[in-house]
Amino acid sequence: MTRLSSDDFRALVTAMASAVADNAERLTELDRAIGDGDHGANMQRGFDAVAADLDTLAAKPLPEALKAAGMKLVMTVGGASGPLVGTFFMTLGKELPEEFDRAGFTEAFSKAVAAVAARGKSHQGQKTLLDVLFPMQAALEDGKSVGEIATIAGQAAEATIPILATRGRASFLGERSIGHMDPGAASVALLASVAASMLEQQP
């Protein structure tokens, strides 16, 4: 059984927020190519808001903390990615018991991915962040290690490059969306790698 302490939660959110800030320009650049060039700024606004609220959040039990963090993202990101990434964390919080084993986590993760797909009215293969979330879910179900899952997430983000976008703004570009990495996919892969390095350090 795992139990993410309040300090773990703090460290995780802090690491995610600083990774997003460090990569904001790259994420925005990706969005400039096939969107409206604000994805990095959107994500940074959202994670900065979560980080700013950390004292309040970390005082809650993990499920509540995750829900509140997701809600904060929904309220602050401002782009299409806000309700999607926010819904992911909100659902994870709703589904995750305070103490969980791998099976419990995998189940909560799957429900969170399904909620994101429902929120976006989208599915795998449309050049969106779901093209990273679904492979991560499969890797979890396959019993892959935390490090392997992060690697798979990175590869899945790369694999969005040749996809023709059929959802979100990139779909406006038709064929011209091919050849660029989806910014939302890049964000999710980034968050996965942050989570992985944290969890790998755990005993």
């Binding site: 700024a41 929904v74 401002g78 299409a80 309700p83 999607l84 926010g86 959802r167």
Partner: protein, 128 residues
């Protein structure tokens, strides 16, 4: 009480301008609110602003919401979920162009039409 109209654009200018056009057509007969811009004022939408806009025009007859691009729609869906039942099921996002749809919806609403026909009138709009 007439159906309320909410205009949610990525651009505060579009939302405000569309609201002015609506007001010119229907006067004060229809509860009307608009919002636009992300939480730091750039182009985008804000769930909080959408929630406030809907609540400010709340009418027992319901509220029709007009949106522009994908993010405005998803954020409006979130706002409606947060508002929750029993009001949520009387708030409908129109599958209609934001400016033209707002004017048609408001014109229909000003005649006292039910939410379903306000929405249908906006959605009927073939592209123009």
């Amino acid at each position: 009480m007439n159906v309320g109209i909410v205009i949610v654009s990525h651009s505060p200018l579009v939302a405000e301008g569309a609201a002015q056009m609506v007001r010119q057509m229907v006067g004060d007969e229809v509860p009307l609110a608009w919002c636009g811009g992300d939480p730091s004022g750039g182009l985008g939408t804000s769930v909080e602003a959408i929630t406030n806009a809907i609540e400010s025009v709340w009418s027992e007859a319901g509220v029709a919401v007009l949106v522009d691009l994908g993010g405005a729609e998803t954020n409006s869906e979130m706002a409606i979920e947060f508002i929750g039942e029993p009001r949520a099921s009387r708030i409908v996002i129109c599958n209609a162009p934001i400016v033209e749809g707002a004017i048609m919806a408001a014109t229909e609403a000003s005649g006292g039409a039910a939410l379903s026909s306000v929405v249908a009138t906006a959605e009927e709009l073939s592209p123009l």
